[in-house]
Amino acid sequence: MPEPVIEVRDLRTYFRTPGGIARAVDGVSFSINEGETFSLVGESGCGKSVTALSVIQLVPVPAGFIAGGEVLLRGRDIVHLSELEKRRIRGNKISMIFQEPMTSLNPVFTIGNQIIETIRLHQKKSTREAKTIAIEMLRRVGLPEPESMYYEYPHRLSGGQRQRVMIAIALACRPDLLIADEPTTALDVTIQKQILSLIRDLKREMRTAVLLITHNLALVYRNAERVGVMYAGKIVEMAPTRILFRNPMHPYTVKLMHSIPGMDKRGKPLDTIKGTVPPATMFPEGCRFSGRCPVEMEGCSRAEPPLIEYERDHLVACHLYDRGFMDRPVSRPITTGGESAPMRWTPSVKEEILLEVKGLRCYYPIRKGLFKRIVGYVKAVDGVDLTIKKGSILALVGESGCGKTTTGKAILRLIEPKGGRIVFKGRDITSLSEGELKPYRACMQIIFQDPYSSLNPRMMVGEIIEEGLKTLRPEMDRKERQEKVLSVMERVGLSGDMLKRYPHEFSGGQRQRIGIARALAVDPEFIVCDEAVSALDVSVQAQILNLLKSIQKDSGISFLFITHDLSVVEYIADEVCVMYKGKIVERGGVEKIFSSPEDEYTRTLLEAVPRID
């Protein structure tokens, strides 16, 4: 057994908040060996990022503090070191890559400057020597022409290139441990694949230990040797990757894996976890998953399950695997009854065409000079043809910047198209005035990606949902409107007493339901979902996908599903259009596209998606 590079023992990181002490990390233990990748995976708010910050000793003060536990770096506890000594470790022995490559580089210094800053801080090297090392690092992270790249400023680089630079900075001092906190979440899937394989190669070469923090289970499967699943500040299950994915033991892990959408789950509702993650200030007594657990037993909410080694290397914190517990009467299962039997649905796609888009073009002018003359155009959407059948779901997939959102907004005439035709139910709506367009507004609606910016923070939920009715159905009186609002709220699974509350009082998933209710209120026939589930955690995403699917089935609404997440597409869509640089490169039924892609780009895209098999 080799000595671990880093060993975390019973780490507790708490935050003082107005609502009391938030136990963000509450007794986490793990260790990582040389050249090993350990991944912490979990939904937002489970404490995985705080764990990473605690390891590198960067817990935000004064609100946060390490309340207990040890972080041993090669056997030496670093929690109690002085700030000066901690600084010598950061960037030198432990370094970190962050999620957002766009903001983690300083825009006023050159790439080279930022790399040699770290080197010169921790090693006695002259500027010339440091430069040699920096250029060598740039070469190793696979950047083209490292000598000239050394003098470039960050804004000249793409997101993926910047993340490579971040890796170069992080690895410049050959650290013992590299922490990667959601390193590819902000990147496109093709870039994600490159970055992850780069980290893998460098790790093998330098024998660095890697702590990979992510919410993406498929990514873990491909990149980590061991995994810890976190829930509510604790590790609930820890095992070597293959074992964990083959035999998940904790009910939370099982649920999490079942809620990932995919081809094999088509036609069935996704498995969901009831309720939401409790806030860190008020974790339930006993097992933290109690109250949401599908196999909860009577004693679960009283006694906290310890993390025990059930099989070799497979640790799990659940009473189900505790023989002492199971032998006692407290192991009587609680019948939750809340879960309905899974229903199957068959697609009810009719052949009737609802919407037809022909040669849609959206150009953004580039203006220059004193009089802002138009000198050229950015062709965001350049000749897109789409056909959506009544009651079907068409997915529009592509990388960021390919023009898919612009297409969606142009169809709703939220962006004025420069050319092409949009034919809705046989009527060309491309050049209608805002007044003539009004009857069509009720038929076509949109749901947005970000559940935080899509609702006006100063309006109550009732007012938000009511807004469309007020404009589009002026004949309705207050009482009728109220009834309609209540009925759509019920439809999306919100209770009527939420009418008079403000959006910030809701979780991300609930807010997305409000957004859906708002769109449904005017009885549309067609809804554009602009990355509607991309910002949500996987278990919440499953709930929303189930909801959208059942809406499609019940009311025959057609959807244009704009997304970059291919697993969502293969689960929900009937047809797919792959978009690349403003044009559609391939279209067809889901099965056909995913099994035998014809276009070069489609193939690259599909290969880049991490999968669990």
């Binding site: 367009l437 947005f448 910016s453 899509s454 006006n456 100063r458 938000i464 404009t471 403000y502 005017v522």
Partner: protein, 390 residues
């Protein structure tokens, strides 16, 4: 005979606004929730009480009338055409309430609560000998904050300054806010030509040094009319209304020169907000642009308006002091903290120094600006649903 100055209308407006708010928070709804939140904040409540005191004083100082002129035998004097002659001085309710403070003047400087003057004089003793000593005051121990160079009570001057401060702060803001919101939001929301025109206007306006503009404006409009002292018959319209008030013109020009900052902030914020998804959602419902501005944009920029207002309020009171210094602020006959600070300049350079004039102005200004800041903060937090305590 009552007299209403144009600046009195500003004070009345402020009082009416407060009364309106008081009724609005009694009803169910948005404001009443906010009010409940403010009520839990003790510091804000104390601040509000102090602000009400100030505004109350300003109101008392804005209700004024002219007395009839009596001849030496106590009979009402008439003009040749038979109409009653009124005094050219319109004393306010406050002047009358604080009558003693106003008329009990000393000869010159005296320290707070002193019994003797601050300046040595040659005094003739009853036995005929002449000595140089501090002569006793006429009203010893009554001047809480001393007296100034001409013997006026400093506390009284400071209290008279309250109205000036409130009028400058409120009057200017009344001009700034509608301009800034209207132009800032229109420029940000519509963009294009509208944006170009509005940007052109405010860039031009803010590129001219504002002092120059104020000087020119005040020389044209501020020199005639009511200066804070006596009222001439020609200034009075409809028997009671005096529109041409120097202080009013000061508010107007300060408003014109200072709306651009807020306008620019609001334009930027609107540029951000108009791309927000909830605005897009409203457009997808076919909601009209004006309604989007009214429902989605303006409520979400109000926090900036409120912060700017509170910050600018103190700035405006200070600006008044600076303008009075170069002789284009309020008239020398009108009590104002700016005038007091100005005179303090000379008083601080004499030996021994006279500090109470500056001290009084400082305490009164501080007492207005600090509660205004605290209360403004509390209001902003209370109006923001995101910060509301559940």
């Amino acid at each position: 005979m009552p007299v209403v100055l144009s600046t009195d209308l500003i004070v009345y407006f402020l009082v009416l606004l407060i009364i309106y708010c008081a009724f609005a928070v009694r009803k169910e709804g948005y404001l009443s929730i906010a009010w409940h939140q403010i009520r839990t904040n003790k510091l804000a409540m104390v601040s509000m009480f102090i602000l009400f005191l100030y505004i109350g004083v300003a109101l008392l100082d804005s209700i004024r009338w002219r007395d009839v002129v009596l001849d030496s035998e106590g009979r009402v004097m008439h003009k040749e055409d038979g109409s009653v002659i009124y005094s050219p001085q319109a004393l306010s309710l406050l002047d009358r309430l604080l009558h003693d403070m106003r008329v009990n003047t000393e000869k010159t400087f005296s320290a707070p609560l002193a019994t003797h003057l601050y300046v040595k004089e040659t005094i003739e003793l009853p036995d005929g000998t002449r000595i140089r000593d501090y002569p006793p005051l006429k009203y010893p121990g009554t001047h809480l904050l001393g007296t100034d160079k001409v013997g006026n009570d400093v506390l009284f001057s400071a209290i008279k300054g309250i109205r000036t401060g409130i009028v400058i702060g409120t009057g200017t803001t009344i001009i700034i806010i509608p301009f800034a919101i209207l132009f800032g939001v229109l420029a940000g929301f519509y963009g294009g030509v509208v944006d170009d025109i509005i940007q052109y206007i405010y860039t031009t306006l803010s590129s001219i040094p504002s002092v120059l503009l104020i000087v020119a404006f005040m020389l044209i409009f501020g020199e005639r009319g009511y200066q804070g002292g006596l009222i001439t018959e020609e200034d009075i319209f409809f028997k009671i209304f005096v529109p041409n008030d120097r202080l009013f013109w000061l508010c107007v020009i300060m408003g014109i020169t200072s709306w651009t900052d807020l306008c620019r902030l609001l334009r930027g914020e609107t540029l951000k907000l108009r791309e927000m998804d909830y605005v897009q959602a409203a457009r997808a419902f076919g909601v009209s642009s004006l309604r989007i501005i009214y429902r989605h944009i303006v409520p979400n920029v109000m926090h900036i308006v409120l912060i700017t207002f509170v910050l600018q309020f103190s700035g405006l009171v200070l600006a008044e002091a600076i303008l009075s210094y170069i002789g284009i602020g309020v008239g020398p006959e009108m009590g104002s903290w700016g005038n007091m600070i100005n005179t303090a300049r000379l008083e601080l350079s004499r030996e021994p120094i006279v500090w109470w004039n500056l001290f009084a102005a400082f305490i009164f200004m501080f007492g207005l600006v600090l509660p205004a800041n605290i209360f403004g903060d509390a209001v902003r937090d209370a109006l923001d649903p995101r910060l509301r305590v559940r």
